[in-house]
Amino acid sequence: MEEHIVIIGNGISGVTAARHIRKRSNKKITIISSETPYFFSRTALMYVYMGHMKFEHTQPYENWFWKKNRIELKNEYVNQVDVKTKTVFFASGNSLQYDKLILATGSKPNKFGWPGEDLKGVMGMYHKQDLESLEKYAPNNNLCKRAVIVGGGLIGIELAEMLHSRHIPVTFLVRENSFWNNVLPSGESDMLNKHIKNHDIDLRLGVNLKEIKADKNGKARAVIIEETNEEIPCDIVGLTAGVSPNINFLKHSEIEIAKGVKVNRFLETNIQDVYAIGDCAQQHEAIDQRRPIESVWYTGRMMGETVAQTICGNRLEYKPGNWFNSAKFFNIEYQTYGWVFAKPREGEAHFHWKHDDDTKCITICYDKNTKTFLGINTFGIRMRHDVFDRWLTEKRQIDFVIKNLSKANFEPEFYNHFETKIQLAFNRQLQIV
């Protein structure tokens, strides 16, 4: 009998693991999820609400794919794992035996104990069920006169864009005094503040949620702001203050957990034959300058690829390469390669350039002494991943990067190029220094 690999979670990490295990072996594979029968792309949820796509378009594989590749799908909720008998127990009362278990359960939206956080009309924006709840309480601006979003991160701004597409007025509560400035340098964050306001979003900076008030049916009707005690009437409240690993069901198992499931560099937990990957895994020690818990799409995919190697007999360390990521803020695309922190750290300097139209800018971070290029943020200008990846690995100098910036340009044909302007700005800055 072939070994039975059971994967909890049919997100990008679990599915990638399954696909690569199938490619390399004939093991029996079962994927369990309580969210949806088939894998879909979480990152595309917003486009379903906005009417760009139907839900089925968010599924990267056609439904026949799973059978053809002999990957069994189970629509169940796991509420207990017994590592002694190697059994997972389902809420439905059934259970399943495994030889090897991969935990890929992803995240859930953070809630910080706000009064009223469990009312009707209060939702996160993570699972498909959140989207359904949004459709129920905010289908249009007749039934939802105003929405309040709490938490200014990547998901918060996506939610704002979603509601905006249906002409629902939005009040956006952000704890920081400028949008996402715990991550972005001030020039960029500042540009985004303006861009958000240009879309008629009522952006409130430097404020916290105090409580959510209910109407007589137990549905949200207003929020109160901590700092001013202002009451803002609303029909729905979106909680988007970050996510944390979705692992409550493991509390009584012997698997070691902290915020997430603790894993070593081989993505192994403290229990033999149990692995954790994706959003729910927490490294004992952060890798490079990454966070111990990485909740992004491509790290989930990479962990899936890595663990598949290990499970198929080629024990492999998870060694992510140079950091990169991307996002979109309404109409402004953002890409980042390497590390650019909100404020230059000890020994680092930032070079910032912004276009006059206030929708494009870049920030390059480099080492003040050695002049080594450390990372770039680019807004409104598409750049090439492979070029920056190479330059980071080769530890190129900032001058080289500025001079060769056009090699990294990834904009569509016939677009205006700004490399010359950027070079001029850089030289001017050098002279001033």
Partner: protein, 532 residues
């Protein structure tokens, strides 16, 4: 939980589909313009046809222009796809089906019952809709209108007005704008005006749209067409030569440099209509694997049909004896088979790897063509090929492929099957260009390392039904014969993952299973395996 959800999960209509008051007025203006055409169709006899035609065209254009300005100029630049899957017309709703039926009926009448449009019997004057267009036709070429003139005018109007809409929709994207100006220019100039003026200069020349190349222009080598060209001295000969050069020289060079997009989404009239008036329906093309399989069979069968049909056409008007004309039937068939063999051997020799599994299908197609031609040569009589009259073969092609497929289904079914149904499943020109794009072209869509988040926006808006995400999420470049290079996948990608490029052939097709940004060991390991 059920996975299948209806097009909007909400009970109430999402507000995204709202139309502003100004847009409602614009719609009404456009509909009044259309109404004039409909009245004419039902034989209302307008006193001053020229004025009413002008009025109708102006109102229709004004309606579209005002509507689009309100839709796009009042909003910040960016992707404008909000609600496309909620709107009935663009998501196969009631309006979509209704429009599909109206268009289909129009095409059937146009191709098969032009008398209902008011086409005159011999000698008498046009009436109805065609009559309404007489003044414009007389102004341009001096002759009364025909159903094709009416169609050509409306077609051009649609490309120009919806082209304007498209340019506003993509006001942030220069590639989209320039390409749209290009299709507008080629439609207005090459397809509409120049042939009319050519007629004024020399009324004996056959209608010739210079940008329409064989096999799309399947009648260029017909006996009457060739005779007319040849009987018109140097100009005629020049045009015929241009036709041949377009096929064998211009097309391969441009496709090598830029991919088939230079034609399909920059020049071609069918493509032009699809990209402008059909833009709202691009998401309707099927991305299923089954659809891709059908596509490959159908389009290549039609290509074979059109090659054999054209050869047979030319064959029938050639003689057997050298004394009449140096190109005899036997010589022609020999030369042609020789040419095909040369082509096929060349492909096999240089491009075996790229062809991969398709080598088998290529070989089968090649032998089918050769066998058909040999069979034809052996069984032909003076008048008959394949035991039927040569001209009937051409009519069959003309009716089923040229009319029903490309017109009735291809355009009539826009709101049901998507805007490039003909281009994808039927067009033999697209098949030839596609073959070349896949094997001998610098064009590809580059994927930006590991940035893809598998969201599916690209696949959703690919009018050719290519599952772009399938490649992008693996970090693979997209090298597909059907890609017309419209660039919309790249435009809608929220992560800047795709770029249309003409670059060196080396490394154009990359299929590494492990993406950039990954553990260096893993990438090396897997890439080693795949090189073995």
């Amino acid at each position: 939980m059920k996975n299948k959800i209806n097009h909007s999960m909400s009970l109430a209509k999402p507000d995204a589909i709202g139309v502003s008051n100004k847009q409602k007025i614009a719609l009404s203006i456009g509909i009044i313009g259309l109404f004039i055409l409909i009245l004419a169709l039902f034989n209302v006899n307008f006193p001053n046809k020229g004025v009413f035609l002008a009025l109708s065209i102006t109102l229709i254009s004004m309606g579209i222009v005002v509507y689009s300005r309100e839709a796009y100029l009042t909003k910040p630049e960016g992707i404008k796809n909000d609600g496309v899957w909620f709107k009935s017309i663009s998501s196969r709703g009631v309006w979509g089906w209704l429009l599909g039926i109206i268009l289909t009926v129009f095409y059937i009448v146009l191709y098969f019952f032009p008398a209902y449009l008011g086409l005159a019997d011999n000698g008498s004057d046009n009436t109805g809709l065609i009559g309404l267009f007489d003044p414009l036709s007389k102004l341009l070429s001096g002759k009364p209108a025909s159903q094709w003139f009416v169609y050509g005018t409306l077609y051009t109007l649609a490309i120009l007005a919806f082209g304007y809409k498209f340019i506003l929709k993509y006001k942030h994207n220069r590639y989209q704008q320039i390409r749209t100006v290009s299709v507008m220019f080629f439609q207005l100039g090459f397809a509409f005006l120049i042939p009319e003026f050519m007629y004024v200069l020399n009324s004996d020349l056959p209608y010739y749209d210079l940008k329409s190349i064989w096999p799309l222009n399947y009648y260029i080598f017909d006996e009457w067409s060739v005779k007319k060209f040849l009987s018109n001295g140097n100009i005629g000969l020049g045009f015929l030569l241009f036709g041949i050069i377009s096929i064998f020289v211009i097309t391969p060079i441009l496709t090598y440099k830029y991919g088939k997009r230079w034609y399909c989404s920059w020049v071609c009239g069918c493509g032009g209509l699809a990209e402008t008036a059909g833009d709202a329906f691009r998401q309707l093309s099927s991305k299923k694997m089954v659809a891709w399989k059908i596509e490959r069979w159908l389009i290549h069968l039609i290509l074979i049909f059109s090659v054999v049909m054209t050869t047979a056409m030319v064959y029938t008007y050639l003689g057997n004896s050298k004394n009449d004309f140096w190109l005899t039937r036997s010589l022609f068939i020999t030369l042609f088979i020789g040419f095909l063999t040369f082509l096929f051997a060349g492909i096999l020799f240089f491009k075996k790897n790229e062809l991969g599994n398709d080598t088998k299908y290529g070989a089968i197609s090649f032998f089918v063509i050769i066998m058909l031609l040999v069979f034809m040569h052996l069984t032909a009589t003076t008048e008959h090929v394949f035991y039927i009259k040569g001209s009937s073969l051409r009519s069959v092609y003309g009716i089923y492929i040229g009319s029903i497929f490309s017109g009735v289904i291809g355009t009539g079914f826009y709101p049901i099957l998507g805007n490039r149904f003909w281009c994808r499943f039927g067009c033999p020109m697209a098949a030839i260009l596609g073959l070349q794009q896949r094997l001998f072209s610098k064009f590809r869509i580059t994927t930006n390392g590991g940035q893809c988040i598998s969201c599916g926006n690209c696949s959703n808006s690919c009018e050719m039904g290519i599952d772009v995400r399938h490649y992008a999420q693996k970090g693979e470049n997209i090298v597909r014969s059907s890609c017309v290079g419209c660039g919309i996948c790249a435009a809608v990608c929220p992560r800047g993952v795709l770029k249309l490029e003409n670059s060196s052939m080396k490394g154009r097709i990359n299929s590494n299973e492990i993406l950039l940004g990954n553990s260096v060991d893993l990438m090396n390991l897997v890439n080693q395996n795949s090189n073995k």
